[in-house]
Subunit: 324 residues, 2 copies
Amino acid sequence: MRCRDRRRWAARSVWTAGPPWCTPQAVAGLGPRRPRRAKRGGSDMTTIGLLHPGEMGSMVGAAVRSGGSRVLWAGEGRSAATRKRATDAGLEDAGSLAALVRASEVIVSVCPPAAAAEQAEQVAKLRFAGTYVDGNAVSPATAREIGGIIEKGGATFVDGGIIGPPPVKPGTTRLYLSGKSAERMAALLTAGPLAAIVVPGGPGAASTVKMAYASWTKGSAALLLASCALAAAEGVEESLVREWKISQPELSARAESAAKGNSRKAWRFIGEMEEIAATFAAAGLPDDFHKGAAEIYQRMAIYKEGPAPSFADVLRALTPRRPA
Amino acid sequence: MRCRDRRRWAARSVWTAGPPWCTPQAVAGLGPRRPRRAKRGGSDMTTIGLLHPGEMGSMVGAAVRSGGSRVLWAGEGRSAATRKRATDAGLEDAGSLAALVRASEVIVSVCPPAAAAEQAEQVAKLRFAGTYVDGNAVSPATAREIGGIIEKGGATFVDGGIIGPPPVKPGTTRLYLSGKSAERMAALLTAGPLAAIVVPGGPGAASTVKMAYASWTKGSAALLLASCALAAAEGVEESLVREWKISQPELSARAESAAKGNSRKAWRFIGEMEEIAATFAAAGLPDDFHKGAAEIYQRMAIYKEGPAPSFADVLRALTPRRPA
């Protein structure tokens, strides 16, 4: 590499040499100021409807509630497991979706990506006129489609995407928000262990951050499991693992952790991988990576219920249809 | 996770808890004993033909030569750059391919994957009757096809795959070998900074180790660059990088290094990604990941010559055809 090239590489770039304020510490303080904590039951308390209290949604609800908001959910027709999560999180059951829509100033949608648009349709049909935050892992195109549905119904739309595990410990989880009312929603939803961060660029921008982030985390986990499944199916796993011990010492543990951490959740990742594939295609990038990842998670979807599989079980499940 | 499941995960597995001898130190000593170093010019010196002295091939040739073998190359019709590499590596020019075939007891093929079968055809046509080691990044099916070509011509076939950079420093590079004469070839080719290691399982097994290994290293590098290209094309790279600084602190540097390290070599990775895709399909795994990776490296192939591109240049090259 010539000197001139070396200088080009060394040039400051957003990727490796962000401005001084771009540090984890600075970023943690980047969110808008937390709103004054309202006295519970006081007139300045915001009522937020949460759809729905799944593993992520219930903890988002609990976090927002800890910031002083009243958080409702709609228990009608929901499972006992969902009811337990909602109750444990201190959420109030509004009963029907219609009752939740009537009582809420803000609705936050946290559901599997494939259900996100249908969820918005239902809310729009009930003439919700507050602010609707879609926090789901959908493509920017799907997010904008949801925005159209919501605004046609008379509400304000804010695009969102959640990065990190269900917010229990501080510093783990961020809700990215974009669109006209993103600042206002970030002030309301930054609460307890949840940090809400505004992304410039209007509706779709927050979803793009989520898509780009998960394209690596969930896409690379699927790829790594596929590499292991190949070695196992062809009987060369001992040689591969010995080579990894020398040159990629973290990979064996990372692969086992990808299987262990994702096998029960794989069923929900299928739709997310499809949204990422669509996002890549719309940006002119190959959508193949995440079509492959969707197929890997599809094969792992059998582990939604029942005992956790061993690593070898997962690898076998990934190569069930070996051609002769 | 229940107790029984925890026990299953904790069970010893080849992936995380190999036998005690399965450590880098032990593995480094796993290769067969180095053959007695022949006196240069002595009658027990093996003559090895190397096809061809590219960046990898020339260093493999130099390593093998340092073990006491005589190493030939075929200079006829080759470029000045190849001649310089061969000369610097101390290889002897046999002149034509026919002369190299006549003079060599062993031929080692190190060339781009797309050229591997054609290379074997040429050697077989010249009635080579020694041992032919195919060290190329090809699928096990292609390796076995090459084996068929070679054995029909009257020679013995050994399947191979190289993992690591061109062998200059000890401990960086391993030549995996499989097939009937793999032990004998490992003894001959373990030399200087190159370690040759036998993979059980016959022809195709060594190539499978290489395919599984590169499926992660080169596949994940392509995926990471695609994730960055998405963020850059959609204008959310600052938000992504800030999130990475918090939760994936190594990724920005890893992405820049994937662009920097691979941009000049991307043209050679296209064929390798296609071989990996074929290997996955034959094992019943999705071939999409590496079709996507082939497309990424195809778009980077413009950097084969000329000055090294900046990271931003590479990302722009990956999204040239954004749909309107």
